[in-house]
Subunit: 342 residues, 2 copies
DNA sequence: CTGAAAGCGCTAACAT
DNA sequence: ATGTTAGCGCTTTCAG
């Protein structure tokens, strides 16, 4: 069994003061004299005192803890975002309770319940790709727990959200490609029900329309956000002998799938088939050729989300104003989509 | 302010029973009749009851929570391990408190303190690369909190640990290379103070010695575990006009740095310079050529660590037996180190 | 099978 | 500047 740890009262007894004095001294409360504080602190250090968060939180009703819900971890985008969130939390003396939905809506719901049980001070969430039922968010709201939606956001009114300029970023990529001379452009579009799938498609459409390039419906392929989908979608077009000149993918793993497929059927990137994707990952620069993309500044997404959350946690008067932040993207050209050989 | 949530006593009052009855019913305690349980459960659901973890844990002295400390998140190896840990935890109804040391020893220490404060039932840790002071682990031990060391383990006696067969894996890789005909083999060896650096070096040495191949000290380069180090170490050898035929790297990011450097100076992999690395990452198969490696089965590492931890949490009698598990590795040959053109 | 009493370790509010 | 009282919401005895 876990050994009994030192309590406030143990220190108090030893010093012949009350527990309240110790409690206040340890928290640097102005009530307490410098001398007493020093005494208490050294006794605490000497005795190896560690505060009990459960007790502290129960009586203070403040946990200094933020709950985070993400669909995945072992993925560059979410990995980077989580790392930034941890950095910001650490700087502000907050702890993170990280939960992973594994793209599963039921699990996501359960995690949110747990976070409420844990009395987190606020929640940051990026939705699973199958989340349709938003009722849990009403519960969160009813509890008065601030929640910020990040990147994968629900179609709801009156929420705080941070997302990248998916539509504008896609537009930039396609416009660039068109100016290069590309006309036969396919889009591997992920799930249209998820906001990022939808918005990125719209950006694609905007650009095609602006330059009066017809969209070939056979070249708009829906599926997921992963490598397998990219691989298979490519193979289908290849088998049908219906390959475009350029493929714009909704995420970089989808592009990775195409790299694999192209190499298997001995097609050269970027000459035989060119690619550009949405989403930045360090590994792209090690690919051959290095993959060009629309960047998603993960650190900005994380920092902005945390900033909004802290604001909501600290100013409860602002309960009825909602903050919506769009993070700008940039076109990052590497070894693909830099010229058109067609 | 966070709204007041439903309490046990609210349900009790409504049902005209005691809070104890409600508490027991909700936890499916055998004391309570089926009829009462049903009544309580439906009332709880209807009223939107969420248990308060703080209160529950404070009185029960069990948190069903495991603390995890890792050096990084946005890294394939740790990302995968963490994901597996979350899976196992979820299946066993445990929560994870994940903390990130960012390879910083002071931060790591502070995180461990926090986990103790949070009264986690157990800890799983992979050390930062600069951790030298092990005294905090004595505190953990004194508190009676089970702790399992994983992959990056300290040089301590009487601890539970899980690690991959670094030495044997390295040996396998180098032996394979030698049999291919390679003799001029360099090793980018990371930090020799960290166990993985040390063991992987020893495996390299074992193989070289077994086949009587002299080790060129200029080709043993120490540094870190990241891309920059790989890049710079390679560039140094290149500038000195002192390149080997094959480089064995301590991690895959180091190999990535070499890919980048080689491409900059127009050297072809694997013909001009061949590579093999320790550590598997999905992206390796998308490199050109696909990078061969010694695998580290992340799921096994995670599962085994959790298994040991649960065992320690549940059987406190086994306090003085320590479990040491070595996870076997395999050689995964892709596009490098598959023939020797020298 | 049910409930009354006590307390987990801490902090907030109110004295002194 | 320090202490007293009360209570956070729950579970654990132990009595009925």
């Amino acid at each position: 069994m876990t050994k009994k740890s030192i309590r406030l009262s143990d220190i108090a007894e030893k010093l012949n003061v009350s527990t309240v004095t110790v409690s206040k001294a340890l928290r640097d409360h102005p009530d307490i004299s410098y001398k007493t504080k020093k005494l208490v602190n050294s006794a605490a250090a000497e005795m190896g005192y560690t505060p009990n968060f459960m007790a502290r939180n129960l009586s203070s009703r403040k946990t200094n803890t933020i709950g985070v819900v993400v669909p995945k971890i072992a993925h560059f985008f979410f990995g980077s975002i989580i790392e930034s969130i941890y950095d910001v939390a650490f700087q502000n003396n907050y702890e993170i309770i990280l939960t992973v939905s594994q793209e599963n809506a039921a699990r996501e719901r359960q995690h949110i319940q747990t976070l409420l049980s844990m009395k987190v001070d606020g929640i940051i969430i990026s939705l699973s790709q199958e989340t349709k039922d938003y009722s849990i968010f009403d519960i969160v709201k009813a509890r008065g727990v601030p929640i910020v939606f990040m990147d994968r956001i629900p179609q709801m009114e009156n929420i705080d959200k941070v997302y990248v300029d998916d539509r504008g970023g896609s537009f930039k990529a396609i416009e660039h490609a068109i100016k290069l001379g590309y006309k036969k452009i396919a889009h591997f579009a992920g799930y249209p029900e998820v906001n990022i799938g939808q918005q990125r498609y719209l950006g694609f459409e905007d650009a095609m329309n602006k330059y009066n390039i017809p969209i070939n419906p056979e070249w708009i392929i829906h599926g997921g956000f992963g490598e397998t989908y990219g691989y298979e979608a490519f193979m289908k077009l290849y088998r049908d002998n219906n390959l475009p000149d350029l493929i714009f993918t909704v995420t970089y793993p989808v592009a990775l799938g195409i790299y694999k497929a192209a190499s298997e059927v001995n097609l050269q990137i970027p000459n035989d088939i060119d690619i550009i994707c949405f989403g930045d990952a360090k590994i792209q620069k090690y690919l051959s050729p290095p993959l060009s993309c629309v960047t998603q500044p993960t650190n900005l997404i994380a920092e902005k989300s945390m900033e909004i959350l802290f604001q909501k946690i600290n100013n409860h008067d602002e309960k009825d104003t909602f903050i919506e932040t769009e993070i700008p993207t940039e076109l990052l050209l590497r070894g693909t989509c830099i010229s058109c050989s067609k």
